[in-house]
């Protein structure tokens, strides 16, 4: 039965300490066991290989971080541990080699910086025909090479103003100038030309070198170093790309070995025995027993304990319902004394979602989005979400027919829709009553489940109290009908009698706190009015989007085209495109908001209003040793 939880059995394995490693392998192979910490004997210690595995894992994780590897492969079938450790040590050697390369790369970078500085120093002298030795060998003349700051004529004027003879030599490049002056007048020359020129330092060269040959030499050297550095950097980068999956796989597999090696931490031990405790599903207990006895050659005992205390929760639902399990997990798993509410939520959530969102167009779009997501997501949360959205989209479409709405209008491309309930105008009070009716049914159902659960567990007074709540709820409903539709029901005396009877019963079975909570039931019921309020706001938003004049701009283009007015067509195209884009964006926003609001608010109606009537949760999640 889908409402019941998977029956669990507490298993206790007692084996010889000599068999610990084999039993650990068997447990790991079995996988679906939720191990608990045994309180028998003294706490266990990890397997011998744990230290070596930990060291390799620390190294591999650090390497992944340093190389920016972010892969999470599945462990799959485990390779032998020794092979993995050897492979990890090989990676360690390769990383050491990479570190040496890194040092070499740093040297290259420093050398490149030096060469670039040398080239920058030599570049101004590139076309200077004077030999470098001339600068140092001139005795009576002092030679100066200037970089001109501004106009060359200004510099020449500065020279002309000097009361000394200068030998002015122009170089091939107009921004530089070579000036010779008597050695004694050197200071005067530098002072008077400082405004328009800067003297360049003469690079140190060997006797046989010219400026041009020194520059060519440095440029060639730089090119060679750059080439070598690029090659080395490429090798570094290629290593991460080439070995990313290898390192991630090694880490992943060693992690599994690490988990296995530290399992005995949770065991209890005596002088010679190992005591292992955990939970398995009752139908798998025999399989566990067979595996343990097989690996220990019958030198172990596997006991089953008939208890539900602290048992973890395993939900048991068919695939169609399973996609709603995440909503229950999100709130809290059911404890062992409760029913699994997934089936209820899988029926009522899409209906309430559809009632809030209710629109044929948006419903179909939701289904299309959900189908796309369903095909893209192979498993896990997104696939479940897609399945849930598909069903919710279907009910949105169904309610869309009830409300006669397609993307906020009351026709589908000219075909008029006949609404059963108009969500705007005169239909609002009807929708209000419908929303309250949904609340009455939803809460009543929750209270009935609560009553049954309490009755089943022998809490009869609580069961009677839940029934009293149902009677009180019925009284509220009748009062509403009496107030708004007296032609259906008009008997205040019955209502008063029901209220008094239920209040007295509540006081008898649950005391004053239950009586104090009576306004809470009314508040819970009124909370369902959000179905109407959110639905109305959704329609209004869609109607606002529909006011964008896309249709009229299209009509104006067609009119112009029919009249042969090409200028009118040309003028009309741009606004039509603009309004078309805004219309699509507007409906996309309305769809996004609708999905979000309908999802969140219907979830809230389940968690806060519906669950509070029968569900407590607090179940312990089942954590299997290994996901199969």
């Amino acid at each position: 039965m889908v409402l019941k939880l998977e029956p669990m059995t507490k298993a206790r394995v007692i084996c010889m300490q000599a068999d610990t490693a084999r039993v650990v392998d068997a447990l790991y192979d079995f996988g679906t066991i939720h191990l608990t910490r045994s309180r028998q004997g003294t706490p266990g210690t990890p397997l011998q290989e744990f230290r070596e595995i930990s060291e390799e894992l620390i190294f591999l994780r650090a390497t992944e971080k340093a190389l920016g590897i972010r892969l999470t492969p599945e462990a799959g079938n485990l390779e032998p541990r020794e092979r993995l450790v050897t492979e990890s040590k090989k990676v360690r050697e390769e990383i050491e080699e990479l570190k040496r390369n890194e040092a070499q790369l740093a040297e290259y970078r420093a050398l490149m910086a030096q060469l670039k500085a040398r080239i920058a120093e030599l570049k101004p002298f590139e076309n200077l025909s004077v030999r470098p030795t001339t600068f140092s060998q001139a005795k009576t003349l002092s030679l100066h090479y200037f970089e001109l700051k501004s106009n060359r004529k200004e510099f020449e004027k500065d020279l002309a103003k000097l009361p000394i003879k200068t030998l002015f030599v122009t170089s091939d490049r107009p921004e530089y100038a070579l000036v010779a002056v008597g050695t004694a007048k050197k200071a005067l020359l530098l002072e008077k030309t400082a405004k328009h020129a800067v003297e360049l330092a003469i690079p140190t060269l060997t006797e046989r070198e010219s400026f041009a040959s020194a520059l060519a030499g440095s440029t060639g050297e730089l090119e060679r170093v750059e080439r070598d550095a690029a090659k080395l950097a490429g090798r570094q980068a290629a290593y991460s790309v080439k070995n990313a999956s290898r390192i991630a796989r090694l880490r992943c597999q060693l992690e599994e070995y690490g988990k296995k090696a530290e399992l005995p931490n949770r065991f209890g031990r005596t002088q010679a025995l190992e005591i292992i405790e955990g939970w398995v599903t009752s139908r798998k207990f025999k399989e566990l027993e067979r595996k343990i006895l097989e690996v220990t050659k019958n030198k172990a005992t596997v006991e089953a304990h008939a208890t539900k205390k602290n048992a973890p929760t395993v939900l048991k639902n068919p695939p169609l319902v399973r996609r709603f399990e995440f909503m229950v997990r999100f709130f809290s798993l059911p404890n062992q004394a409760e029913y699994d509410p997934t089936l209820f939520i899988s029926i009522t959530f899409p209906i309430i979602f559809g009632m809030i969102f209710g629109d044929i167009g948006y419903g179909l779009l939701t289904m299309a989005l959900a189908s796309f997501l369903y095909l893209k997501a192979q498993k896990g949360f997104w696939r479940h979400l897609a399945g849930m959205m598909l069903l919710s989209g279907f009910f949105t479409t169904v309610w869309g027919f009830v409300f006669g709405e397609f993307m906020g209008v009351e026709d589908i491309f000219g075909y008029e829709l006949h609404a059963i309930i108009h969500r705007t105008g005169h239909g609002v009070p009807i929708l209000m009553v419908a929303a309250l009716l949904v609340g009455v049914i939803h809460l009543g159902f929750g209270l009935a489940v609560g009553a049954y659960t309490n009755w089943r567990h022998g809490h009869k007074s609580h069961a009677y109290a839940k029934m009293s709540w149902i009677v009180l709820e019925a009284a509220f409903l009748l009062a509403g009908i009496n107030l708004f539709a007296p032609y259906i029901f008009n008997s205040p005396a019955i209502i008063i009698a029901l209220v008094i009877a239920s209040v007295v019963a509540l006081y008898k079975f649950e005391g004053v706190p239950a009586v104090v909570e009576i306004p809470g039931l009314l508040s819970n019921l009124l909370s369902y009015l959000r179905i109407m309020a959110l639905g109305l706001s959704g329609v209004i938003l869609a109607q606002i989007v529909n006011q964008i004049p896309f249709k009229s701009s299209l009509e104006s283009i067609i009119t112009s085209a029919t009249a042969g007015d090409l200028t009118g067509v040309a003028i009309g195209i741009l606004p039509a495109i603009f309004f078309g884009v805004v219309l699509i964006l507007g409906h996309a926003v309305a769809l996004g908001l609708g999905l979000f609001e309908a999802g969140i608010q219907s979830l809230r109606l389940h968690y806060v209003e519906f669950f509070s009537k029968f569900y407590h949760g607090g179940g312990i999640p089942f954590v299997p040793l290994r996901e199969k």
Partner: protein
């Protein structure tokens, strides 16, 4: 010209909605600040935070219902 009674109905409805909206905004700001603190401390709580943030919206919905009832029962634009 809008007569004084219509204006009074409109103001009453607006007041009911505004009170609900302000109360919701105040509650959501407090919850939001606490939620940010919770998320900073513990990962993977984003979904629950969304739900907690949605809880106080009941107040604005009830404000809307009251506004609607004022307009529909006392007359004015909403009753037409």
């Amino acid at each position: 010209m809008v007569d004084i009674s219509t204006a009074g109905v409109a103001l009453g409805a607006a007041g009911a909605l505004a009170a609900g909206a302000l109360a919701t905004a105040w509650a959501q700001s407090t919850i939001g600040a606490a939620a940010m603190g919770m998320m900073a401390e513990k990962d993977g709580k984003e979904g629950q935070v969304l739900l907690y943030l949605a809880l106080p919206e009941t107040m604005v919905i009830l404000g809307f219902v009251v506004a609607f009832l004022i307009i529909s029962s006392l007359g004015g634009a909403g009753a037409k």
